[in-house]
Point group: C2
Chain length 198, copies 2
């Protein structure tokens, strides 16, 4: 665990152990509390923990990606002085301005590329951005978002993810960017339909 935190998010690990559905010893489905039904109490514990992990960082904005990151980021923002949340849009409507930063992301789950967009007006030169997302696996989404943010003048304060699968290359890709990465539950492997935490 980066930073030597004494917190362990036992509640989160218990939730994963008890409620996650493991598909093909590969996919961790957490629809029950993180991706479809949302456990707002747990999200508040997650918010406290991220505040602890990034206690020494100034944060003026939290940025996440549609859809799964939005609820988590919104609750987490309450622990960072209620800073605004901005989410990168995957499904930009016709009303969206054309004045956007964008990046392409390849989704291994959906086996297709998609484009994320953020209006330029919401990323300004005095912003110190904390990135929050639900999962880190291949790192495609997070790296895409970092590439998007790098087009603007914001400073990236760090990246916090709820669940990391260390057996994919995401962590290394984020650390190579020189960004502090904090994951609350780190899964080393999945064996016989059971998650093995680091």
């Amino acid at each position: 665990m980066e930073g030597g935190s004494i917190y362990h998010m036992q509640l989160l690990k218990d939730k994963i152990r008890n409620d996650a559905k493991i598909i093909e010893n590969r996919i961790i489905k957490v629809d029950n509390f993180l991706n479809h039904q949302l456990d707002i109490s747990l999200f508040n514990e997650i918010g406290k923990e991220f505040k602890h992990r990034f206690a020494n960082k100034e944060v003026t904005k939290i940025v996440t990606i549609e859809t799964s990151g939005i609820a988590i980021a919104s609750i987490v923002a309450q622990y960072f002085n209620f800073v605004p949340v901005v989410f990168a849009k995957k499904h930009a409507g016709i009303n969206m301005t054309q004045d956007v930063y964008e990046a392409k992301i390849y989704s291994y789950t959906k086996e297709q590329e998609y484009t994320i967009k953020i209006s330029k007006e919401f990323l300004t030169s005095n912003d110190k951005v904390l990135i929050i997302d639900d999962f880190l696996a291949s790192g495609s989404a997070l790296i895409g978002l970092i590439n998007l943010l790098s087009q603007s003048d914001v400073e990236i304060a760090g990246a916090g993810v709820v669940i990391e699968k260390t057996f994919q290359e995401g962590r290394q890709r984020v650390l190579e960017k020189g960004i502090q990465l904090e994951s609350l539950a780190i899964i080393d492997s999945i064996e016989n339909g059971q998650v093995i935490f680091k």
Copy 2:
């Protein structure tokens, strides 16, 4: 205002007056605080107000629709004893169970029909559901969600929307279902690029 609330959500109205962009005297774009950048402090005031409006209702779950409703619903849930939030999915991934309730919704903005889905396991017979969404205009989205919920055994405790455009038929369609509807900012008309509140 239904229920004779003495609250007026002046903060919300000020936000709309000062920050909303009016397009073609018809579309109210609130990307600055509600739909792209999210004002988490404002969402907390919204949560308090909905709690006030539905003070006499038992609520065990909050249900909303992807994407814009998710952040609001998550903050609002904190004022209803941190009940879980479930959001109807518009973009169901390949990992979604096939055991779902679904309903079709016609989007006037995007001029196309889409299907919303909720896993059956998250709507149970002892659930008393408060519906939360960002906008009420034609009522298509809300009626679609009500139709979806009606397939399950949940009881609908009420529906709360942040911004209502009364010059469309949404309110009437929801009230015909016998559901308590509470809107925090009711826009009577848009004239010369200015919103006129009720």
